[in-house]
Amino acid sequence: MRHKIYASASGAQTVVIRPLYPQITPMPMAGFRSRLTLCTTQTQPPQAGPVFETRIHGRGGQGVVTSAELLSVAAFTEGRHAQAFPSFGSERTGAPVISFCRIDERTIRTREPIVEPDAVIIIDPTLLHQVDVFAGLKPDGYVLINSSRPFEQLHLSELNDRFRVERLCAVPATELAREHVGKPLPNAAMLGAFAALTGIVRLDSVAAAIRERFGGELGEANARAAQAAYQLVPPSSGKAASREAVNA
């Protein structure tokens, strides 16, 4: 028990204090930890895992935050750790928004915003020349842009020098969404394409996450859009894992 709450005039006294709260049943010795041991637990550091960091750019109302969350749920269904969070700006409809998703085999501890992403997803191409969406992207990084125009026509030729051409991809996600879901909400399609491009999650995991979030017919329609986008990504894209192996 705590001693020496106060010092009396004649010097500090040690007082045994009776507890005011009901005693907790003591544990068997085998499981017992002294208070100090509990306080200074040594934790083995996790080995540096192959963490995959994705940054998603878009505008408020386009499902940027949802995209990161769905990606994290897809990774979760595969038994991995995933952390998704937004950039916490004032999220007015139409204002630029950023969200982040980290995927790792081990517990993810850090919470800093992603500064050197392994992949960048751009949901709204009008951001391309307004925000530096490629800032910090690793040389081996992936770029996925939502556009009905092919990548070559997006005036991003300087990217060919900085990054691997086969990892830069454009998909008409909004059109696919309109076709399959009836609404121009591109995030499900983008995630399907992302799965194909990077191989970091399987298509069926993405579909499962979509169905869980949206439910019913809307979930099914979005899953179809994801599948359609998946199939649009050229099979020669350099992925982290081969598509065939991933889909086995």
Binding site: M1, R2, I5, I17, P19, L20, Y21, P22, I24, T25, M27, G31, R33, R35, L36, L38, C39, T40, T41, Q42, T43, P45, A48, A68, E69, S72, V73, F76, H81, A82, Q83, A84, F85, P86, F88, I108, R109, T110, R111, E112, P113, V115
Partner: protein, 417 residues
């Protein structure tokens, strides 16, 4: 059950598992998802009996909790920032009356200037209120510590605030183990109040106390909270036995037992700190970290014990006491009294400014090389300060600082379009 879930929703589910009987809440960013989640759980009938009261202010929220708790109901509320300040009077009232209310504080900066993002200034401003203050590092720990909080509060008849970083934890989706109802029911027995408004046995609660007894009543409050220094680890230990994972407690060390430089921090930044510690250890530095999990009561002995072997300590703080400097570092100084350990304060993350690994790396290296001043403001934009100071010197009517600086940064358009 393992879930990939938003922090706020995880907390809502954890709180619901604790079977609160009265939940009263007023919305404020970034706590809103917690109370929305709870309102859904109550309204759908998943949690009963429970009264969910939509109150007209945070002051009302804490007041309703006071009335409910005094009538023997397990009471819960949540707030942040301005809301916490608005209920300050009621905070002191709740702790003074000895009511075991549990409250989530989704840590957020305090205005002016108004800012909705994370730092610790809100809960730090109430460190003298008599509430037990526990800080959690992750959403898993948030779930676990809320369950522990009710048990601690009711054992001591003291209110407990569980502090979790707003947005960074509340709005992050990650893997969390949500306990089963039976597990929580076994761990948390029904509330047995120490005082009760009961027509069958009337008592007067809240009498006026003059000079003849006020000191003694306050002393008892301090005495009770000091007991938490023993109770908190016991509850954490019992939790680990029941649920199979460590969480809560007073302090937690990370690679600190042989460290020359130790970083002290509270809350979610510990995760980022640990990643940097690992990298610097790889590079051969003897560096470690200590997470303070119970800020009130202040675990003086445990902090001293954890830090006494170090040469230097860097206290990484997400709050600032204007006019003096770091808050946690003052407490750490006191704990290290008489020891040859130098204590440095690093203020970071104010108003939601991200804390980058790179910045921490630089900071820790400097600290390890004994090149840190007493107090550092991490990532401070000195140019911005200098510009504003120059403006103030040039013109009496220099205008509001916030707008001037935002204009300088280009966040606000200057002049007429």
């Amino acid at each position: 059950m393992l879930k990939q879930i938003e922090g706020s929703q995880a907390v809502a589910q954890a709180v619901a598992l604790c079977r609160p009987e009265v939940i009263c809440a007023y919305p404020i960013s970034p706590q809103t998802h917690i109370v929305e989640g709870l309102s859904r759980i109550v309204k759908s009938g998943q949690l009963k009996p429970c009264e969910f009261v939509n109150v007209e202010s945070e002051f009302a929220a804490m007041s309703v909790a006071i009335g409910a708790s005094a009538t023997g109901a397990r009471a819960y509320t949540a707030t942040a920032s301005q809301g916490l300040l608005y209920m300050t009077e009621a905070l002191y009232n709740a702790s003074g009356l000895g009511l075991p209310i549990v409250m989530t504080v989704a840590n957020r900066a305090i205005g002016a200037p108004i800012n909705i993002w994370n730092d610790h200034s809100d809960s730090m401003s109430q460190r003298d209120s008599g509430w037990i203050q526990l800080y959690v590092e992750s959403n898993q720990e948030a779930v676990d510590v809320h369950i522990q909080a009710f048990r601690i509060a009711e054992a001591l008849s003291l209110p407990v605030m569980v502090c979790m970083d707003g947005f960074i934890l509340t709005h992050a989706m990650e893997r969390v183990e949500i306990p089963e109802p039976e597990q929580v029911d076994r761990f948390l027995p029904p509330f047995e109040p120490r005082q009760l408004l009961d027509p069958a046995a009337p008592v007067t609660i809240g009498a006026m106390v003059g000079p003849e007894a006020y000191t003694e009543v306050r002393y008892l409050a301090h005495y009770k909270q000091m007991q938490a220094l023993d109770l908190i680890p016991e509850v954490a230990s019992a939790f680990e036995t029941s649920f199979g994972r460590p969480s809560g407690g007073l302090v937690r060390g990370y690679r600190s037992s042989d460290a020359e430089t130790i970083v002290v921090a509270l809350g979610s930044v510990m995760g980022t700190v640990e990643d940097v510690i690992d990298e610097l250890r790889q590079a051969g530095l003897r560096i470690g970290a200590v997470a303070v999990k119970s800020f009130r009561p202040w675990p003086r002995d445990e902090v001293r014990s954890a830090l006494q072997g170090a040469r230097r300590v860097v206290v990484l703080e997400k709050a600032l006491s204007i006019g003096i400097g770091g808050i946690v570092s003052q407490n750490v100084h006191g704990a290290l009294e008489g020891l040859p350990v130098s204590v440095h304060t690093a203020i970071a993350g104010l108003g939601g400014r991200p804390i980058f690994k790179e910045s921490l790396r630089t900071l820790f290296l400097k600290a390890h090389a004994d090149a840190l001043p007493g107090t550092t403001f991490v990532d401070l934009d000195e140019g911005l300060i200098d510009t504003e100071l120059a403006r103030m010197l040039a013109d009496r009517r220099s205008g509001p600082h916030a707008e001037n600086m935002l204009r300088e940064l280009g966040t606000v358009r200057a002049g007429a379009v």
